[in-house]
């Protein structure tokens, strides 16, 4: 009987987790998932394993375990079957819940407190994203390493057995492979020992050494962005950001996400009530000499601190680990109240009811939202796969695509995973898509009107309207409309050099297409339309082979209608380059301009007699 109760004790939080986030188990992939799922394809195309695993990617992040290795391994074994990915996320989270239970039990000296802490954490609506979106696995895995490290520390303090200290160090060091957030673990260890086990405090200071080293190495190889949403703002805005996250952590203000509309004063009152309880209770306990209660608040502050300077990028999943501190505190307070007078019991139950009543509906609604988003991405991919089967060799143009579907699947070129190379937005389809130029430019995905007309006239493309759950072929209707709206004689503002659809825009010297690129010799030209307004720029994106920069940087000159607009020197071997030069005012409004590119020198490879300069992907006026 006791064994059965024990089993129930350890599994209840996981069952609650399953009950709330079960849709997360059925979720498919979306957004960043597709970038990570493409890693094995990059490997097949010649990328180095080391670069794929440890090279800074996506805002300079280096997460070899939770993103690179995880996706490469699972995609390699299971392909696009999302279930095993989701099972791995859920199992890791179940382990986290066991650890929270164990930590809570140990910290609060109460079995009930441990169980309640795990339940309070799992119902927090901030977990909906990590329980539904595979790319957020880094949060779950990092939580695992931090919780494991901390549990080992507690055991080490309790037993003095060195094995626990060794395990703590191992878990802490491996945790760097999950998420950068791991660097703050030493602060957690130091904070706890300072408040609850002072004789171990000095020993925990050694943990700061790897964190400092990791921070230095990380900032060297992946400097902090100087613009965009991931730019750090270490100023007073952190206070506003902290308040925002605090409100989200408590949940009442997020009720509208579940479709429950209550007066804002009521939501603010609930937030204030929970705030008073969560801050007041540990402070009172601290004043009574029970200092460890304060550690729970410290946990929240330490783990949220690294993301507070990201004023322009607030994400609820950043709360995954910080709210463990609040859950521990809540569980502890609830367990304490049960040993107190009935007034405290009532107060505790009311506060818990407010929290659960706000958090659970939001968590479930958010989980459903993520699930539906992944479902739409899957339907789009299945439709594209079917369209490619029915129209082999033809490019697919999409119209009627929602902003959500664009940002969930198209922007990360998910279609490459099903073997489709060219998918574009049909001209006009971009009007309904929200712009996030800091992430990607929607216009780069639109096939220019003149090229669209030519492709449809020649039968090189088909047009599909994105409907709920499937794609509808609307080629004839779209073509008829396009003939009226667009002119085939209008030059485009962008040339995808690696697409045959743009062949008419290229000068005679370009070599045939190879993959998504074309090589140029020493000199090459493309025809474009002049910019519509002054202040425009010409952008060139391509690839520089190592042979060109093995001895010295490679000079490149770009001219527009004979006017040299810029020169640059490329030095990154086997790397993508992005060049931007201002357009001369004299070409504004011109129906046709010629962009000429010249490289300093060329090279040849083996028996290939061609003189190769650079490989180009896109040349565009913006």
């Amino acid at each position: 009987m006791k064994r059965a109760w024990n089993a129930v004790y350890w599994t209840v939080p996981s069952l609650v987790c399953l009950a709330i986030y079960w849709l997360g188990l059925k979720s498919w992939f979306y957004q960043d998932d597709f970038a990570w799922l493409s890693l094995n394809r990059s490997l097949q195309e010649g990328a180095r394993v080391w670069t794929l695993l440890f090279g800074p990617q996506a805002q300079g992040t280096i997460r070899p375990l939770s993103e690179r290795a995880f996706f490469m391994l699972f995609e390699g074994i299971f392909g696009l079957n999302a279930l095993p990915f989701r099972v791995a996320v859920f199992l890791t989270q179940f382990a986290n819940l066991v650890l929270v239970c164990a930590i809570g039990r140990h910290l609060c000296r109460s079995r009930a407190a441990g169980l309640l802490a795990a339940v309070l954490w799992t119902v927090n609506s901030a977990l909906a994203t990590v329980m539904s979106w595979t790319s957020a696995y880094n949060q779950v895995l990092c939580a695992f390493f931090i919780l494991l490290s901390f549990w080992c520390l507690l055991r080490y303090i309790e037993t003095e057995k060195r094995i626990y200290n060794l395990l703590q160090w191992t878990s802490f060091l491996v945790g760097f492979g999950a998420l950068e957030m791991n660097v703050v673990y030493p602060a957690i260890a130091a904070g706890y020992t300072l408040l609850g086990a002072r004789k171990h405090f000095r020993r925990t200071l050694w943990l700061f050494v790897p964190s400092a080293a990791y921070t230095a190495v990380h900032w060297h190889f992946a400097p902090s962005p100087t613009s965009g949403p991931y730019r750090m703002h270490p100023d007073l805005s952190v206070v506003t950001t902290l308040w925002q996250y605090w409100q989200w952590a408590l949940s009442p203000v997020r009720l509208e996400k579940a479709g429950i509309l209550l007066p804002s004063w009521l939501l603010l009152s609930a937030t204030i009530l929970l705030t008073v309880a969560l801050i007041g209770y540990p402070v009172v306990q601290f004043l009574r000499g029970r200092r460890v209660y304060l550690f729970c608040l410290l946990w929240f502050v330490i783990l949220i601190a690294p993301v507070l300077p990201l004023r322009d990028h607030l994400s609820d999943y950043y709360l995954t680990m910080p709210v463990i501190g609040l859950a521990l505190l809540g569980g502890w307070a609830l367990a304490d109240s049960w040993k107190s007078r009935w007034q405290w019991k009532v107060a505790a139950v009311v506060l818990a009811a407010i929290y659960l009543g706000c958090s659970v509906p939001v968590a479930r609604a958010a989980s459903r939202w993520h699930y539906n988003r992944s479902k739409a991405a899957r339907a789009l991919m299945e439709g594209l796969a079917r369209a490619a089967e029915l129209h082999p060799g033809q490019r697919i143009l999409l119209t009627g695509l929602s902003s959500e579907s664009f940002w969930s699947a198209v922007v990360d070129k998910a279609y490459l995973l099903v073997g489709i190379r060219e998918v574009y937005l049909a001209p006009g389809a971009e009007d309904v898509i929200e712009r996030h130029d800091d992430v990607a430019r929607v216009s780069d995905f639109v096939l220019p009107p003149a090229v669209t007309l030519s492709a449809l006239r020649n039968g090189w493309a088909v047009v599909y309207a994105v409907e709920e759950g499937r794609l509808r072929n609307v080629t004839s209707a779209y073509h008829a409309e396009a003939r009226v709206r667009f002119s085939e004689s209008q030059q485009p503002l962008r040339v995808d050099v690696g697409s045959p659809l743009f062949a008419d825009q290229l000068g005679p010297t370009w070599y045939p297409i190879e993959g998504a690129f074309r090589w140029m010799p020493k000199h090459a030209t493309v025809a474009l339309r002049g910019p519509d307004a002054p202040g425009s720029q010409i952008h060139l994106r391509g690839w520089c082979p190592a042979q060109q920069v093995v001895t010295k940087p490679l000079g490149i000159a770009v001219s527009v209608d004979g006017i040299v607009v810029g020169r640059a020197r490329l030095s990154k071997p086997d790397g993508v380059f992005d060049l931007t030069f201002p357009m001369p005012g004299s070409v504004v409004g011109k129906a046709r301009i010629e962009v000429a590119i010249e490289v300093e020198r060329t090279f040849a490879v083996g028996v290939d007699a061609r003189s190769l300069g650079l490989a180009f992907g896109t040349i565009a006026v913006r």
């Binding site: 074994i77 392909g79 696009l80 079957n81 095993p84 382990a95 079917r386 369209a387 509808r472």
Partner: protein, 180 residues
């Protein structure tokens, strides 16, 4: 600690079981219902052997023979797209067919009548075997819609028999509407 170990073992077993259950390298494939394809526009003049027109032969046509023609039954119907402007000026219904010698010998005469939408057209009687054309003017009111059903009826036909188990009417090559 022992309980934790038990949990870890249970979790590992669960991982193995679930992985085994889902251990299928899945790729996205094109399901037939993942897209809705465009229907080709209906033809005004139909060569009955043309595969693109088969959807327009709604009733009473047997399979293509000799890459050129189809046997009909006693009643047969097609869907046609009226020619441009026929809603104002009307059109002419044309059926090109032949009556094989053995059929006419058995039936003596064949009388063919037609109806475009709800508008009946005058019948015609055929007494000779070989190539025939049935042609009738169709009034504009019968052609007001973008698709019109045309029903043909033969007064006599060959019932299923020992030589051919199909019901056989005439041998049709072309049916359609011409501008008037």
């Amino acid at each position: 600690m022992p309980r934790l170990k038990q949990f870890v073992y249970c979790a590992l077993i669960l991982v193995v079981l679930v992985s085994a259950a889902s251990c299928r390298k899945s790729q996205i494939t094109g399901q037939a219902d993942a897209t809705i394809e465009e229907k080709p526009p209906l033809l005004t003049m139909v060569r009955v052997a043309d595969p693109k027109a088969s959807a327009q032969l709604v009733k009473g046509f047997h399979a293509v023979e000799g890459n050129n023609w189809r046997w009909t039954m006693g009643r047969f119907s097609v869907l046609l797209s009226p020619p441009p402007g026929s809603g104002d000026s009307g059109a002419r219904l044309v059926l090109r067919f032949s009556i094989p010698e053995p059929v006419l010998k058995a039936l003596t005469t064949v009388r063919l009548s037609a109806k475009v939408g709800d508008v009946p057209l005058p019948a015609q009687e055929y007494r000779t075997a070989g190539e025939q054309v049935y042609t009738r003017d169709v009034p504009p009111q019968a052609l007001a819609k973008s698709i019109v059903p045309v029903d043909f009826v033969l007064d006599k036909f060959m019932p299923p028999g020992k030589v051919d188990q199909r019901e056989l009417g005439v041998v049709v090559t072309v049916v359609g509407l011409e501008p008037r």
